[in-house]
Amino acid sequence: MLDRRTLLGAAALALAAFPAAAQDWKARYPELTLGVIPAENASGTVDRYTPLTAYLSREIGVPVKLRVAADYAAVIEGQRAGNIQLAFYGPASFARAAMTGVRIEPIVNQKHDNGASGYYSVLYVKADSPYRTLEDLKGRNLALVDPNSTSGNQAPRFFLQKAGHDVDRLFGKTFYAGSHENAVLALVQGTADAAANLWNSETDTMVTRMAAKGMLKNADGSPMRQSDFRVIFRSEFLPEGPFAMLANLPDDLKGRIREALVAMPRKDKAAFDRLSDGKDLDLTPVTLKDYQPIIEMLRFNDEQRKRS
């Protein structure tokens, strides 16, 4: 029987149920996992991202656990399986995830100290080597980073092709060093004659970051600097990789993650600065559309691979 009392009761129940529904995701996601691509070696990556997970745990209200994947593909597979709810990608690995059917939403990407939310891919040789042009590198060895690295594989392939060079034909041997740091180290050790890597700005490159950590030494033990390397090829501008989350997370949770990340440069400057050694200016919201060119680039490379 429908009378005033049952209506009131139902209304009260609905009111009581509403905040419960809002907090419902905490039961489904008592813990979130942030997966990070191994751009650097694992320990360096952990140091960089631990303050971020502490900040996110505080802001979101559930513990956020850090997972540094062994390779780029592991982050993609983790998101596909739903084990990694939140991930930091490079643009190509994000594009590969989206292309292979992982339902994800990009959230923000980093704005560097030159005001650009993106970077370049470069080919380094050592400054004391005789190589000055791409033609000089014919038959030499090239260190790439990871098949899913943008600046360390996909972009060099794409932009060298546009410049009239097929990477696999131009170079004698190409191999994947595993991380950006390892590619630079391969060049320093002489395993490779050239190395593909990322280049954010004049003052922020993989070389400056490694030099700051004391990882680059000349044979006589003196520290190496940016001037010890020569850039012989630079790609066009590439959008910076995004933080991305699974599209099927509850809307309430997604809102919180987005808010926390957008506000981070102001709310927890220390944690934000740790991400880039204080080199970045901000985190800017991004959408899937920003990565359409990268998806096109990967499609082109996939096609090219079967043709050569």
């Binding site: 390779d71 780029y72 593909a73 993609i76 399986a81 590969r96 292979t100 060895n141 990871d146 098949p147 899913n148 041997k173 191999f175 994947y176 050790q189 002489g190 395993t191 490779a192 996939d302 079967k306």
Partner: protein, 304 residues
């Protein structure tokens, strides 16, 4: 002369039953001993189980997660195989194996790496196994050194050796061959020396009595006894090295590994299954071939 066997008469012996209290005491002691041993086994089992659980917990091995996500694994396998329709089978196969010439060349390189590594490893192991065997070692200290050397060779993973050699010698299949060969020396050396320790020592004594040197003793008294076993372990190692060489490309040491790695990382699923299938078929072919070879060796030996 015929021997007559006298039947032997056996006198029945009466066994006196034990006094009841003595029997009860013995039975009680027996029960106690059995119970104690059972308790001990149970305690060990419980401790073992606790350690397994602890190890699993520390290493974050979650059987429930495995059970929950096993579907993901089978789904991955399902995604690997491209659509093959009976009507368009030749075209589908051609599309699946678009890279066949390149892959065959790389697989050939992988096989050559494995072959060379097994050969070099086998020679090294052959030279060391007699020194490392307890029954033949010329001296204790030499044997100690040989054993420790073999252990170093086989405990350092091949990939680590490969990484070190890539830095030292540059990229290429030679690095893979060296890394695999060193591991093979360690693994085969141990197996070979154990074969040598199980030989019949009579021919050795016989030869020593004639004044033969250590090398001559090995050559004429030991080698004929162990050769077929050596061959069978060597062939097994070849199979293992084919698999090992397939991974070497991961670190830039040649072979089909790099192509497989690129395919896996870039989610070129059809390529992953195509290359994996080629490797599996190769190993099957090697298994069949080596089995025949081994039987041929054994047969020749039996006929001697």
């Amino acid at each position: 002369m015929a021997v007559r066997i006298e039947p032997v008469r056996i006198e029945p012996v009466r066994i006196e039953p034990l006094a009841p209290e003595r029997a009860a005491a013995l039975a009680g002691a027996y029960e106690g001993a059995v119970a104690a041993s059972r308790r001990r086994s149970l305690a060990i089992l419980v401790a073992l189980l606790a350690l397994v659980l602890l190890a699993g917990w520390l290493a974050e091995v979650r059987p429930l997660t495995l059970a929950e996500n096993i579907g993901g694994f089978t789904a991955y396998l399902g995604r690997l195989v491209p659509p093959l329709a009976p009507a368009t089978l030749p075209a589908d196969l051609a599309a699946w194996y678009w890279g066949l010439p390149k892959w065959l060349a790389l697989l050939g390189e992988t096989l050559l790496m494995a072959y060379l590594a097994t050969l070099l490893g086998g020679i090294g192991a052959f030279c060391l196994c007699f020194v490392a065997a307890a029954n033949l070692a010329p001296s204790r200290s030499l044997r100690f050194l040989a054993r420790r050397f073999l252990e170093v060779c086989r405990t350092v993973p091949e990939v680590v050796f490969a990484l070190i050699f890539v830095i030292a010698f540059g990229l290429g299949p030679m690095v893979g061959v060296l890394a695999l060969a060193i591991h093979s020396v360690g693994a085969l050396g141990k197996l070979f020396s154990e074969v040598v320790e199980n030989i019949d020592l009579k021919p050795v004594e016989g030869l020593r009595a004639t004044g033969a040197s250590w090398v001559e003793t090995i050559r004429f008294a030991v080698v004929p006894q162990v050769l077929s076993n050596f061959a069978s372990y060597g062939l097994l190692r070849f199979e293992i090295n084919v698999r090992g060489a397939s991974v070497m490309g991961f670190v830039g040491a040649g072979g089909i590994g790099q192509e497989l790695l690129v395919a896996i990382r870039n989610f070129y699923n059809a390529d992953v299954s195509a290359i994996l299938l080629m490797i599996i078929l190769t190993v099957v072919a090697i298994d069949l071939a080596t089995e025949r070879l081994r039987h041929a060796i054994l047969g020749r030996e039996a006929a001697r």
